[in-house]
Structures are given as structure tokens and as C-alpha cells.
Amino acid sequence: MKIRVELPQHLRTLAKTGREVQLEVQPPVTLRSVLDALEAKYPMLRGTIRDHVTLQRRAFLRFFACEEDLSHQSPDAPLPDAVVSGKEPLLVIGAIAGG
């Protein structure tokens, strides 16, 4: 399945990619499986979204999709159907803090 992920500017620069990347993800489509696929395709993003060791979301990052905040849901919970179908992207957002 083609999953769409939007990255914040600094991570686009780091991964040398555009605003949106498309990833092939085998079901079940969850935050964990999408981030695993993202990091496999763009190894330089390892550690920038999830901690290397604990795989916990970095404190100042959030995950949004379909106008919902998915940041605090289980990494193994299914993502919304619209994300799974490719209709809507999963948004990786840098929290607004500092400058």
C-alpha cells in the first residue's frame, strides 16, 4: 500500500526530499510500520523522529492525520482508513516552541 507522509522542513532538507514522501507499507498500517518504512527508505531520519534506543516519539514532534492528533495513540494501533488508502497523508509536525 502506498502511504503518504508529510515531513517538516528540516527533515525534508536532511532526507533531500520534498514535502511529501510515498512509502510502500505492508499491512497492518500503523505508526510503527509507517515509521519503520520511512526510516528504511531514509536512514538519515533514524533518531530524528523516534529515539534510537527506546523508539519513543521525540518530545517536540507530533503525528496528525485526518484532523486528529495521533501522537499519543499506541504505535501499533491501526491508522485511519483514509491514510491506509492513500487519500490522506500522515503529518509529522514539529511542535511550535521557540524560534
Binding site: H10, P43, M44, R46, G47, I49, D51, L61
Partner: protein, 390 residues
């Protein structure tokens, strides 16, 4: 003709400043890594076109960058599979070594309030390339530890003997965090490395990083219960002239110190300086007893005294200091000069460079007698290093 390349890390990107040996006309390249905090950049003595950079962010964590063409282009090394076909090497993975075979338990250190606090990796403060191998580089990190890469920054491994030193629970963060900020490699002894941590103090290894000993005898710090304790001193920076590796100079939180026995003992050489609080300290490339510092008003007021930006120079290895002011602002100036933001080139006359939190990078092509800004309006400068190129 000789050239110099000045590597500048700032709060919002990196800049590369180049000039010929006259050091009068400068070209400015950057910002590289725009918007990221660039804590430190340093070139390899073994291959000056190889430069390492610490790119960091409170949002996205730590990234290591590498250039093979003198800073024109950059890459984040790693990404290939390991030799066993396993997960890709990742240049930004700084995982403390807690393995039973080679590592140390992840113990705790002292927090600001005196309680114990878990060790957590935050960022790389300082990168020190090997003197002889361009693929080997050391990293000083927060929370304090030293890492080494032998594959050009593609993967990193802790030298856990330092973090695992029995005194770890007494180490505490300074205002900027519990950072390992100084790494000095001894050119006369490849097994000897000097490091410094705020606020634990100075340490030395004589066996290539397996074991470390505190080297703080003679330091005196009022902000710890026992001012002469073995551990707990807020060392801000240390410097060595490679021609005289047993002599070290130190800018401590307060006090300018000198050691003539490779750190085994220290004596104060603040002498007639108006305030001995500061961050940077460096040494003339050809005159090992000529030292430079930038005095800062106090630990509560991190800017230069009296609104005057003055570099102080001692030509006698300390104690007797003279202010250097020609070309530097002498009114309404309230900048700081951070610990890694001064460097010297090896031309004759020796060039001295420093950057300020106000975004100026100043250069002197005559050992400090006169100064001029290379650039005036960068983001706050975190670090300055210089390469002398033939």
C-alpha cells in the same frame, strides 16, 4: 600561497570563511544547514578537506555531517548495511555502551538540586578528528561521555571507561548542560587524551581511552561543598600548544589555570586580569607562552565588562596580561564569547579568530595587536575553528 579556512558554527547554521594568507579579503559561504544549531565543525589534520560537523536540534535530535571537499558539499555518513547485512549504520546514533562485554551500567549523575538524575544523550558539543587518520574522530557529548568513530562518522561507539568512572554520581550539569566540551589529543603520545566536562572537571587517559583519571589537583571552586574536591569543578575550556604537550592552560568558571605536568597539578595564573571569569582560552601557534582569553564580567552577567570587548594576552605563560583593543568595540558592547569560539592559525604572524554571541567573527593577522571583523551579523556564534592550508 597559503590560505586559511575558518569554520563557524552558529545557532542557526554553519558558515565557511576563506581568505589568502594576508587574511584581508574574505569570502563567506553559508548558511549551511540553515536553521539548525551547529555546535561545532572541525577539519581533519590528516586530510584538510575532510570536515566534520555537529548539527543538532531540540526537535529532531543529533545529526553528524561530513564534507570531503572543504565544506563545499556535505553528507550525513552511514546508511549502508552493516557487514553482517544488518540494520543500516546511522551516523547520528549515540547510544551509551551498557553491554556486559565492553560497557558500563547507565548510572546516574547529580542534578542541579543535588538529587540523582538518569544519564540521557542530548547532543554533540565537540568533534575532534584524529591527528593521523581522517576516518577517526572523537565526539564529546551531553550528558557527558566520549564517543569514537573509526569509519568517518558512519557509526559511533562510546569509550565507556570515562562515563563509568566511579565518580559519575558526583558530576553535575553546568548552566549549559552536563557537557563534555573539550577533547585534546596529545601529538607526542597517541594513547593520551585530555578531556573536560562542565561540571565534573578535567580527566586524562594514558591508555587510549580505556581508563581515565581526574586531573583537578590545584583547582579551587567555591560553588561545591569542598572547594578542593577531586570532582565537581566547572572547567570551561582547555588548550595545549602541540609543541609543548605537557603544558595545559585552562579557563575555569572563575580562574585561569596552568599545568606543567599534563594536568597532574594546576596553579592559578589569573594575575592582573580584571576578571578571571570567561569561557575561551587559546595559545599562540609559535609562542607556547603566549595565551589569549576574553574576560567576561561574571557568572551572573555573561558579557564583557564595561561594554568593552577586550582580548587579553599574556606573553609570559600567565599572570601578566595586557588588553588588546585595537579594532574591537570599546563602548556599548555586551556580547559573550563561548568556549569553543576561539582559534589560531599557524601562519607567521599567527592569526587569532573568535566569534561572539552577537554574531561577529573577528580576526587578527598579527597575533592580536589589531583586529577587524570578518562578518558582523551572523546568528549567535557557538564555535570557531581555523584550518591553515598550503
Amino acid at each position: 600561497m597559503s590560505k586559511v579556512r575558518v569554520l563557524v558554527g552558529t545557532r542557526k547554521g554553519a558558515f565557511v570563511l576563506t581568505a589568502d594568507g594576508k587574511r584581508e579579503k574574505w569570502e563567506v559561504s553559508g548558511p549551511h544547514f540553515s536553521g539548525w544549531e551547529m555546535y561545532h565543525l572541525k577539519g581533519s589534520p590528516a586530510d584538510p578537506n575532510r570536515i566534520y560537523a555537529s548539527q543538532t536540534s531540540g526537535w529532531f535530535g543529533q545529526v553528524i555531517q561530513r564534507s570531503n571537499d572543504g565544506g563545499k558539499t556535505w553528507e550525513s555518513p552511514g546508511g549502508g548495511l552493516t557487514a553482517e547485512g544488518g540494520r543500516p549504520k546511522v551516523s547520528n546514533k549515540f547510544a551509551y555502551d551498557t553491554s556486559a562485554e565492553t560497557g558500563k551500567p547507565l548510572t546516574t549523575h547529580q542534578w542541579y538540586d543535588g538529587t540523582q538524575h538518569a544519564w540521557e544523550f542530548k547532543r554533540v558539543w565537540h568533534l575532534e578528528p584524529s591527528l593521523t587518520d581522517s576516518d577517526t574522530v572523537y565526539a564529546g557529548v551531553e550528558d557527558a561521555a566520549i564517543f569514537r568513530s573509526t569509519d568517518g562518522g558512519s557509526s559511533w561507539h562510546e569509550l565507556p571507561g570515562l562515563r563509568g568512572h566511579g565518580t559519575g554520581p558526583k558530576w553535575q550539569p553546568g548552566a549549559g548542560g552536563m557537557c563534555l566540551h573539550t577533547i585534546i589529543l596529545d601529538p607526542s603520545n597517541p594513547k593520551r587524551i585530555f578531556i573536560a566536562i562542565s561540571a565534573a572537571g578535567a580527566f586524562r587517559t594514558d591508555d587510549g581511552g580505556k581508563t581515565w583519571k581526574p586531573t583537578n589537583q590545584g583547582l579551587h571552586s567555591q560553588y561545591i561543598p569542598d572547594p578542593k574536591a577531586e570532582i565537581g569543578h566547572c572547567v570551561h575550556h582547555m588548550a595545549m600548544n602541540p609543541k609543548r604537550p605537557n603544558v595545559l592552560f585552562m579557563q575555569k568558571h572563575w580562574d585561569i589555570m596552568r599545568s606543567d605536568d599534563a594536568g597532574d597539578s594546576w596553579k592559578e595564573v589569573s594575575g592582573n586580569i580584571p576578571t578571571d571569569f570567561g569561557f575561551v582560552i587559546d595559545i599562540h601557534a609559535h609562542e607556547p607562552d603566549t595565551i589569549y582569553v576574553v574576560p567576561i564580567k561574571s557568572d551572573a552577567e555573561h558579557f564583557v565588562p564595561e561594554g568593552k570587548l577586550r582580548v587579553y594576552r599574556s606573553r609570559s605563560g600567565g599572570n601578566e596580561w595586557e588588553p588588546l583593543t585595537k579594532g574591537l568595540p570599546q563602548k556599548d558592547c555586551y556580547v559573550n564569547v563561548l568556549r569553543d569560539a576561539m582559534a589560531v592559525d599557524s601562519l607567521d604572524k599567527c592569526g587569532i579568530y573568535f566569534g561572539t554571541t552577537g554574531g561577529q567573527v573577528y580576526a587578527s593577522a598579527d597575533a592580536g595587536d589589531t583586529w577587524a571583523p570578518i562578518v558582523r551579523d551572523l546568528p549567535a556564534v557557538y564555535s570557531v575553528e581555523v584550518q591553515t592550508l598550503s
